[in-house]
Amino acid sequence: MGVSYQAIGWNRQKKQYDWLIFGFCCIYLSTFILVTAIFNPEYTFETVLIRSTSTLALLILHVILCIGPLSRINRKFLSLLYNRRHLGVTMFVLAATHGIFSIIHFHALSNVNPLVSLFTSNVNYNSAGGFPFQALGFFALVIFFLMAITSHDFWLHNLSPKTWKTLHMFVYGAYFLVLMHVMLGAIQYERHPAFVLLIALGAAAVLTLHLVAGTREVKKDNSLFDPAVNGFVSVCDVNEIEDNRAKIFCVNSERIAVYRFGDTLYAIHNVCKHQGGPLGEGKIIDGCITCPWHGYQYLPNNGQSPPPFKERVSTYDVRIEGNRVWLNPSPFPEGSERPGTVISQPSN
């Protein structure tokens, strides 16, 4: 293989991505501050800082939550997914600026510790309109903090991908907390209906995209196969699989990717060891199945990442009879060598 295994630095794409994030943040913040200064000249610096950072963080949070389902619906969004964690860290930095500044602004220089004040000043925990909304923001910020500090792949390996993924699923909980933080906070103060409308629009977009992407996958997963013969199910025609590409089949609730590499078919588990990306939507590059999400690679014949990497996925047996591809859904242990099956006649 012609790939050398250096640690991935900040390559050109990453740099572009980061500059774009930075540029967009600057544009947003300066627009917000300028418009406030022009139309609301009695503003104070503290308030404009608190509000510009919070609203930008929420805007970025929406982008983060939408990129996932968008890239399932249209693969071209994958290029935004790849460095999504940079967006996440940026969002955290903005939310932390907002949160910490709010704590100082509203709670410091008082007769108790600011963090104590955060939970004991307003104690109307049993009222909706009076609810201490700042506490909700605090817990959301704690979640974002945990996600931001574990965003590096180092933590992914240390925590195991499963724990990591679970931790990062909390982003939905945090999103909900932030929505309530805003609904029970700023929305109780600002009377213009546009604020509620915007929040509703954002939530509706996130929800709809997830539903659309989800139902598509469920539909794919529920496609039925004829009963197995000697453990093998007939899945598709040989011609349906392009060279260096795969088709994904969900048999007995397991997603399996059947790849064609030259004149041989191989089958491996569809779930990438990195963050669960769909390996069957990847491509064979330099002889390796390459995950579409972040480019982890696996050898088609044994599901192992080429050394020095250690990731392994399960492999499966495939057979060809006539023009039909038959797949055995019982997995071999992760990293097991399987010979695959050779397409004997030219298939076209």
Binding site: T31, V35, T47, K76
Partner: protein, 284 residues
């Protein structure tokens, strides 16, 4: 099938992907601009209250500890030739009332300030024709106390009877200009903090002409009013209490916390509701 394949660790994205990203970015840009501008534009207008941050003013007046720490300042003669006064309630630094700083001054100068003529330096805050002053420990040394001269005249008081008013309990320090907004839900925790820190709570009332008035809340039973109002701060309330005109301010003697009742904010904004408040005029 489009055979382009995107891998993030490659230095360049395939053309199709790059084009798509460009389109997405060009869509996001106006969205970002519009959202930022709209949110900023639609914010409630900030008040014109003013906190003279960093500017010290020297004020000469008679200090009264009760009903709340304030300085009564001679404002010259009115049109009938009577001496008129304005009273400037005092607050401390940060989210603290004036009691702490006054005690420090008294210890430093080894005398009580109550009813004495003093010269105090502090930072002024004002809104709607009312002024309060922040005194901080940096100014202790510059305090001058005229020995022995107590106030010649007591502050004029007039019982205005029991009244029911609708409005919002505020901490005057923030409302008078330290924070914007210094009221309402977003500022609630801070207002509670200030009031628990000893800043005298005030009832802010206003009418549909936009005129505002501020009543200083005091307890008529000796309970700690600052602590007692904690749950009612920064939200619409109706409050029934005896109003007493006290110089140029109005005091509200709260007898029982049962007389404070949260109300819906709609009740504050309904145009035809009973007079929520009168401007300064009706307390005469």
């Amino acid at each position: 099938m489009n055979n382009e394949f995107y891998i993030g660790w490659m230095p360049k994205a395939p053309q199709g992907f790059a084009r798509h990203v460009k389109r997405v970015l060009l869509t996001i840009l106006p969205v970002v601009l519009l959202t930022g501008a709209m949110l900023a534009w639609l914010q409630k207008r900030f008040s014109t209250a003013s906190f003279e941050f960093g500017k010290l003013t020297e004020v000469t007046g008679v200090y009264f500890k009760d009903p709340v720490p304030m300085l009564r300042v001679n404002a010259g003669n009115d049109i009938w030739g009577n001496t008129s006064y304005i009273s400037i309630p005092l607050v401390g630094y940060g989210k603290h009332g004036a009691n702490g700083i006054i005690r420090e001054i008294e210890i430093e100068h080894k005398t009580s300030l109550d009813h004495k003529q003093v010269i105090l330096k502090g930072t002024l805050l004002y809104t709607d024709g009312r002024t309060i002053m922040q005194v901080s420990s940096n100014e202790i040394a510059s305090v001058k106390i005229v020995p022995g001269r107590t106030a010649e005249t007591a502050t004029v008081q007039k019982d205005l009877g029991f009244r029911k008013v609708k409005g919002e309990i505020i901490d005057p320090k923030c409302y008078f200009g330290v924070m914007k907004p210094g009221e309402g839900k977003v500022h609630r925790d801070c207002a509670i903090r200030c009031i628990l820190g000893g800043i005298p709570p005030m009832m802010h009332v206003w009418n549909d002409k936009g005129e505002s008035n501020y009543y200083i809340l005091v307890s008529s039973t000796g309970i700690d009013i600052n602590k007692a109002v904690q749950d009612y701060v920064a939200e619409p309330v109706e409050l029934e209490a005896r109003l007493v005109q006290y110089g140029d301010w109005t005091l509200m003697y709260v007898a029982d916390m049962k007389n404070i009742r949260p109300i819906s904010s709609l009740q504050l904004f309904r145009p035809a509701s009973t007079i929520i408040a009168c401007g300064t005029g009706c307390t005469q």
